[in-house]
């Protein structure tokens, strides 16, 4: 329990932010965790393991990153010291996915496969203070990619509606209260939606969807309630969106250049910029968090 106490101290201590973005990259045969500033400078390698890290999620004060390892377990790393710990969340025999910190930093929401073949999963909330898990919502099929609203009252996530039986996989955006007593479907796209993130003001959700035939970045606006806006239109794969802290830009991963790289789009002017954290060297990157 001692490490949790330490973790809580870190979570609630105000210390200057050292890095902007977290992501994973394949530098030497497997996926490791890195941070970089939002202009692509000051690259820092956080892990050097023989297995894969994935799905990094920043803590609210940006001192910790929760992430998964390829054995499907949740971990946390203290960015400044590099110290890592396994988060004792969920069932250690079941694979976990897509963690996200709560806005107050006291909990992590994540998806966990149900026992068996993994064609079903649940959303669980792990509380650092009590070290206990709670089921967020009891829903059929796969729930994935949860994210907290900035006010901490809601969790948006993706729910798998249909797989091969429909001819293609259909996964739609849903939203539930943190208490999990009510849920509603946000969109009907007849497509596969994933990797959703609330905007910093909570009024929009960015996500990746293959609605247009390939994965692109889309934005759903709660206030306008219009059809979602397509942010990227490249015929290659664009995925893993992440909002800038001011909500004016979106970072995402794209293979439009031939390699998986991080790009940043200015939502106001539309300007698009590729980050080159590895100084022009072609290194595949994915799972960006900002």
């Amino acid at each position: 329990m001692q490490w949790i106490t330490g973790l809580l101290v870190i979570l609630f201590t105000a210390v200057p932010v050292f890095a902007d973005m977290a992501f994973v990259a394949n530098l030497d045969g497997n996926w490791d965790l890195f941070t970089v500033e939002d202009d692509g400078s000051h690259l820092t390698r956080l892990t050097k393991t023989p297995y894969d890290e994935k799905d990094p999620a920043w803590s609210p004060n940006k001192q910790l990153i929760a992430y998964l390892t390829s054995d499907g377990q949740l971990n946390v790393i203290h960015v400044a010291t590099g110290k890592t710990n396994r988060i004792p969340a969920g069932n250690r025999n079941l694979r976990k996915y897509s963690p996200a910190f709560s806005p107050d930093g006291k909990a992590i929401v994540y998806a966990q496969a149900r026992s068996g073949t993994g064609d079903n999963s649940d959303l669980l909330l792990f509380n650092f203070e009590s070290s206990r898990d709670r089921l967020v919502i009891d829903q059929h099929s796969i729930q994935m990619w949860p994210d907290f609203s900035p006010d901490g009252k809601k969790i948006a996530y993706a729910n798998l509606h249909c797989n091969e039986a429909c001819g293609h996989f259909i996964q739609e955006l849903w939203e539930t209260t943190t208490a999990g007593n009510r849920a509603r479907q946000l969109l009907l796209t007849n497509a596969f939606c994933k990797q959703l993130v609330y905007s910093p003001d909570g009024k929009q959700i960015a996500y990746a969807s293959d609605r247009g035939g390939n994965f692109d970045i889309w934005i759903f606006d709660f206030e306008s309630n219009d059809q979602p806006r397509q942010v990227t239109t490249n015929k290659n794969t664009d995925e893993s969106p992440a909002w800038s802290p001011d909500g004016r830009k979106i970072a995402f991963v794209s293979n439009r250049s031939g390699a998986l790289e991080i790009w940043v789009k200015n939502l106001e002017g539309g300007a698009l910029k590729k980050l080159t954290p590895f100084s022009g060297r072609e290194v595949a990157c994915r799972d960006v968090a900002w």
Binding site: N26, G29, N30, W31, P50, Y51, D52, K54, T69, S70, D71, G72, R95, Y97, S98, A113, G116, T117, G118, S121, I142, M144, E164, G167, H168, F169, F192, K194, N214, F215, N236, T237, N255, R286
Partner: protein, 370 residues
């Protein structure tokens, strides 16, 4: 007829006249009809050829195009060629526009005819046929001859897989290949893709034979040993004219029908282990102990094809589910803790399943020691 009301008879006769008149009018209007092919398959490399026959109700300028299964224009046999009323015949020798023999595949024709008044008519078989999915259940497996026999009710594109119920896919025997109507024999040695498991002796092994229909008047070419369809298309690159999409009117269309043949196939995988124990027994078995990193990847050529796809990665030990990642990516480096695995020989099988139903399979024999 004696007891029938006379008005009924008049109505009957009037109806017959109207129907015949309507049919005659339709036929008179229709510029292209009675489209047939002399054969459903041929070998261009052996100087084979086929004849496309059709009837023109009026003199017309005619363009006949040959398309590949991805709707790429392969050959323009006739270009606004002046043709007479009546039966016309076009010969295709299985060559593309550059005079090269086309790769083994299924091809179809479109006919565009324009009469002297400028009225244009298009025969495009994809608007009326093709893509309808069916399962074939009457399949005979001959263990001695190593054959699979079945009957195709029509020309179609066939997929045959064998997997374990509740477990992995073990082999794709026929990966969406075109077949003619009638009796078909495939060859299969009864084993999985890597030759490690005798599937015919596993009770839970199940075979699926399914197909979707090809557009009417399709023809299958065979005998090209110099290139494959995927290689041919790669060399074509983007310099290919696509047939216009005139809509598909048939229902119950397989989603595989709309996928390009260049991406709708089972990818090849690679599988490596770290921390192997050297010098133990033969090359076919990897000896492991303690912990190992299992590295799964797509082979170089398939990596490029599947770069835009998402997939699941699943591991099976002795055909039973072991571990899975719903959100797959490659390379995938999985830490396998062998302390929970019974000592001795096992078969590790990996399935990489695309969301569009392309499934790569690889199995390896491993020996776990203390």
């Amino acid at each position: 007829m004696k007891n029938r009301h006379p008005l009924c008879l008049v109505a009957f006769l009037l109806c017959c006249c109207l129907c015949q008149g309507a049919t005659a009018a339709e036929t008179a209007d229709k510029l292209i009809s009675k489209v047939t092919l002399s054969r459903t398959s041929f070998n261009p490399a052996q100087k084979g050829k086929i004849e496309l026959k059709y009837h023109l109700s009026r003199d017309a300028k005619v363009t006949v195009n040959v398309y590949d299964p991805d709707w790429g224009l392969i050959r323009s046999i006739a270009k606004e060629s002046a043709q007479k009323t009546g039966e016309n015949t076009i010969t295709w020798k299985g060559l593309d526009n550059k005079g090269n023999i086309v790769p083994d595949e299924g091809y179809f024709f479109t006919i565009i005819a324009e009469d002297v008044s400028g009225k244009k008519e298009i025969y495009d078989p994809t608007t009326l046929s093709g893509g309808v999915t069916h399962d074939i259940v009457d399949v005979k497996i001959d263990r001695e001859e190593h054959t699979i026999d079945y009957r195709m009710p029509e020309m179609g594109r066939v997929m045959i897989r064998v997997g374990i119920q509740g477990g992995p896919l073990m082999v794709t025997i026929v990966d969406w290949l075109p077949r003619v109507k009638g009796a078909v024999t495939e060859y299969w040695n009864g084993k999985d893709k890597d030759g490690l498991v005798d599937l015919l002796n596993i009770q839970k092994a199940k075979m699926i034979v399914t197909y979707f229909s090809l557009p009417e008047n399709s023809v299958i070419t065979y005998g090209n040993r110099k290139t494959t369809y995927r290689r041919y298309k790669k060399e074509q690159g983007k310099a290919v004219t696509l047939k216009p999409d005139r809509g598909i009117l048939t229902e119950n269309i397989s989603h595989h029908y709309k996928l390009p043949r260049t991406i709708d196939y089972a990818p090849e995988l690679t599988l490596d282990f770290s921390n192997t124990v050297e010098g133990k027994d033969d090359d076919d078995v990897v000896t492991l102990k303690g912990k190992t990193i299992v590295k799964v990847d797509l082979n170089k050529d398939d990596k490029e094809v599947f770069k835009n796809q998402q997939f699941e990665i699943a591991f099976f030990l002795d055909q039973k589910f072991y571990a899975e990642d719903e959100v797959g990516y490659t390379p995938f480096n999985w830490m396998w803790d062998l302390s929970q695995v019974e000592l001795g020989e096992h078969i590790l099988t990996v399935n990489i399943s695309g969301f569009r139903d392309q499934v790569g399979v690889l199995s390896r024999k491993v020996r776990i020691i203390e």
